[in-house]
C-alpha cells in the first residue's frame, strides 16, 4: 500500500471519527458548560461590591490563584499551537514553550508584588498612581483593551476553526454560531460571576488541561517504554526531516530575515507576559503581596510542568501521525493534539473516540476560560480606568462602577463576536504573538519606570504607552502577517513593507526609549511625594487593601 493511500484513509477515518462521535464530544462540552455556569451563578450570588467583582474578594489562596493564573495563561495557543508547531517544525516549536515560561521571572522579580501592593483593580491603578490621572488612565485603558481584543480575536477565531473541525461543521453559519456561542458564554461568565466566577472557571480549566496533558504524555511515553531518545528518533524519522527535526532552524532558519524575526519573537515572548493585563489583574485576587509572589511560584511550577509535557505531545504527534495527516487536518497543525489522542486510543476503537472527545473538550474549556479572563480584564479597565476615573472623574459610586463593568462586558463580548465571525476564515494565529509584543512595548516600560524610576513623568508614561502601542500595531499592519504573504490575513493584497512578522525588536526598545525622551522633554516636575508613597507602598504593602 502506498503511503499516499494510507494517508488519505487516515484522514477520512479521523474526520468520520469526529462526526460519528459528535454526540460524545458535544456531551462532554455540555458537561463543562453546565458545570461552569453553575459555578458562575454561585459566584455571582457572592459578588456584592467592587472588590468582589474586580478582584474576587481578594481571598483566594496562593495555590488557588497560581492555578487560576496558569488557567488564564495556557491558552489554545499554548496547548494546540505549541503541540502543532512541534509536530510540524520539531525543535523550533519547542522554543515557544521556553520563552513563555522564562517570561514569568520578569513578573516574579519585578512586577507581581509591587503591583499587588500599590494597585487595587487594574493595571491602570499602578500606571496612574503618581501621574495625572485622566490622561494616563485613558492610555492604560486603551492599551489594555487593544491587547485584550487582539488576544480575544485570536482565541475566538481559533475556537470557531477548532470546534467546527472537531464537530465536523463546515458551513459558514455553523462557524458563526460557534463563535457566537463562545461569545455569549464568556459574557455570562464575566458579567454574572465577575472575578470570583472567572477565577473558579480558570481553576477547573487548569486542572482539566493538566490532567488531559498528563494522560496523553503518559500514553505517549508508554508507547516508547519511557525512552525519550526513542521517541525523538521516531519523530525525526517519521517527520521525513531526519536529525534536522530535532535541531533549531526548520521554521526560522530559512534566511537572515527569519532569524531576526525569531529574535524579535523571543524578545516579545519574554517581556510580554509581565505586561498582559489579564494576567496582572490576577495578582489582586489574593490577600497580600506575599501571596501574589507565591501564586507566581505555583504558576511557574504548573506552567513549567505543562510546557515540559508539550515535548511529549508535539514529538509524540510527529512520531505517531504522518505529517500529511496533521497538515490535512489543519494547516498550522492546530489539531495535532486531538489527533494524537485519537491515534493513541486507536483510530477505529471506542477508546480512541473517547480520548479524542476528552482532549477536544479540554481544548474547548481552555479557549472558554481564556476568553473569559480577557473579557474581564478589558471590561474592568473600561469601567474602572475610563468610566469611573476619566468620564466620571472619580465620582462614580461603587454600584455604578460595577454596573458599567457588566455593561462593558456585554459590549466587548458583542464586538468580539462580530470581529470573530468576520475573521473566521482569516489566519489570526499571529495575533497572540502581537498581543505579547504590544504588551511588552506599551505596558511593560511604563510599569517598570513607574515603579522604579523616580524622575518618570506623565508625559513619559503617555509617550511610552502610545508610542509602543502605535509602533507595534503599525508595524504589524504593514507586515507579512496582514498582507502580501500566502499565510497572511489578507493574502490577496500586498501593502507590506516591514519584513518581519514580529514587531518586538523595534517596538519594544522604542517604547522604552519614548518613556525616557518623554520624561526628559516634559516641563512638569515629577511628584516626589507621590513617588515616595508609591515606592514605600510597593515594597512594604503599607496601605494596601
Amino acid at each position: 500500500m502506498s503511503p499516499a493511500i494510507t494517508q488519505v484513509q487516515q484522514v477520512t477515518l479521523a474526520a468520520n471519527e469526529a462526526s460519528e462521535h459528535r454526540p460524545l464530544i458535544i456531551s462532554l462540552f455540555a458537561v463543562f458548560v453546565v458545570a461552569t455556569l453553575a459555578i458562575t451563578v454561585w459566584a455571582g450570588r457572592q459578588t456584592k461590591d467592587a472588590a468582589d467583582f474586580y478582584a474576587g474578594g481578594r481571598q483566594f489562596s496562593a495555590f488557588q490563584n497560581g492555578l487560576a493564573v496558569s488557567g488564564d495563561y495556557m491558552s489554545a495557543a499554548s496547548f494546540l499551537g505549541i503541540a502543532g508547531a512541534i509536530a510540524l517544525f520539531g525543535y523550533d516549536g519547542f522554543l515557544y514553550s521556553i520563552g513563555f515560561l522564562v517570561a514569568w521571572l520578569v513578573a516574579l522579580l519585578l512586577v507581581a508584588e509591587p503591583l499587588r501592593n500599590s494597585g487595587r483593580y487594574t493595571m491602570g491603578d499602578v500606571l496612574a498612581y503618581r501621574m495625572r490621572q485622566r490622561p494616563v488612565r485613558t492610555a492604560a485603558g486603551t492599551s489594555t483593551i487593544v491587547v485584550s481584543i487582539f488576544y480575544l480575536l485570536a482565541q475566538m477565531a481559533g475556537a470557531g476553526v477548532l470546534v467546527s473541525l472537531l464537530l465536523g461543521i463546515t458551513s459558514d453559519a455553523g462557524k458563526i454560531l460557534i463563535v457566537a456561542l463562545v461569545g455569549v458564554l464568556m459574557i455570562v461568565y464575566v458579567s454574572i460571576g465577575g472575578m470570583k466566577g472567572t477565577t473558579w472557571v480558570q481553576m477547573v480549566k487548569a486542572v482539566l488541561l493538566i490532567s488531559g496533558t498528563i494522560l496523553i504524555t503518559f500514553l505517549v511515553l508508554l508507547k516508547f517504554n519511557f525512552n525519550i531518545s526513542d521517541l525523538l528518533g521516531t519523530a525525526a524519522e517519521n517527520s521525513g526531516k531526519g536529525a534536522a527535526f530535532l535541531e533549531p532552524g526548520l521554521q526560522y532558519g530559512a534566511s537572515g530575515t527569519t532569524k531576526i524575526d525569531f529574535i524579535s519573537l523571543g524578545i516579545a515572548l519574554v517581556l510580554g507576559t509581565a505586561g498582559l493585563p489579564h494576567i496582572l489583574i490576577r495578582f489582586y485576587t489574593v490577600p497580600n503581596a506575599k501571596a501574589a509572589r507565591k501564586s507566581v511560584n505555583w504558576a511557574i511550577g504548573i506552567i513549567g510542568g505543562f510546557y515540559l509535557m508539550t515535548i511529549a505531545l508535539g514529538f509524540g504527534a510527529a512520531a505517531l501521525i504522518s505529517q500529511e495527516e496533521i497538515i490535512a487536518s489543519n494547516k498550522s497543525g492546530n489539531t495535532a493534539a486531538p489527533l494524537l489522542a485519537l491515534h493513541l486510543g486507536g483510530v477505529d476503537s471506542a477508546w480512541g473516540a473517547i480520548l479524542l472527545a476528552t482532549i477536544s473538550a479540554v481544548a474547548f474549556a481552555t479557549i472558554l476560560a481564556v476568553v473569559a479572563g480577557l473579557t474581564l480584564a478589558s471590561s474592568s479597565s473600561f469601567a474602572h480606568d475610563i468610566y469611573a476615573n476619566v468620564i466620571r472623574k472619580g465620582k462614580a459610586t461603587e454600584k455604578e462602577e460595577v454596573r458599567a463593568a457588566r455593561l462593558a462586558t456585554i459590549g466587548i463580548g458583542a464586538v468580539s463576536i462580530i470581529l470573530g465571525s468576520l475573521a473566521r476564515d482569516l489566519n489570526v494565529a499571529g495575533l497572540v504573538a502581537l498581543a505579547f509584543a504590544v504588551a511588552a512595548s506599551a505596558n511593560l516600560p511604563t510599569i517598570l519606570y513607574s515603579l522604579f524610576w523616580k524622575r518618570f513623568t506623565t508625559q513619559g508614561a503617555l509617550w511610552s504607552i502610545y508610542g509602543g502601542l502605535t509602533v507595534a500595531v503599525g508595524l504589524v499592519l504593514f507586515s507579512p502577517v496582514v498582507s502580501g504573504d500566502p499565510t497572511a490575513m489578507f493574502p490577496d493584497v500586498d501593502f507590506a513593507w516591514f519584513p518581519l512578522k514580529n514587531p518586538g525588536i523595534i517596538s519594544i526598545p522604542f517604547g522604552f526609549l519614548m518613556g525616557i525622551i518623554g520624561t526628559y522633554l516634559s516641563k512638569e516636575k515629577p511628584d516626589t511625594g507621590k513617588y515616595a508613597e508609591l515606592e514605600v507602598r510597593s515594597l512594604t504593602g503599607t496601605g494596601a487593601h
Partner: protein, 118 residues
Amino acid sequence: MATDAPPPSKADPHLPTTEEFVEVQESAEFGELRRSHRSFAFPLTIGFIAWYLLYVLLSNYAGDFMGTKLFGNINVALILGLAQFLTTFLIAWWYERHSTAKLDPKAEAIKSRMEGGA
C-alpha cells in the same frame, strides 16, 4: 489617590500622610530594604534575560553546535532548552528564599509601624 478614594464602607488601615511616606522613604531602614530588593532582582533579571538571549542566538547562529548529539537522539539544543527550564525553577526558588529571609521581615516591620501610627 485623589480621584480614587477608597470606599468608606471598608475598614481601612490607617493611611499615613505623604510627609510620613517621604520620611520613611528617606530612612536608612527603607533604604536597606530597597537595596536588598534591587541588588537581588535587577542583576538577576539582566542575567536570566542575557542567558535566554544567548540561547536564542545559539539556536539561530550555532546550528551545528546545537545539533551535536550527546546521547542517543538527545542533542545540545534539547539539553540547553531543558536547562532554561531548570534555571527558571531555580531562580524562582532562590528569590522565594531571599524574600522570606531578607525582604518580608523588613517590609512587615515598616508596614506595621506606619499603619499602627496615629
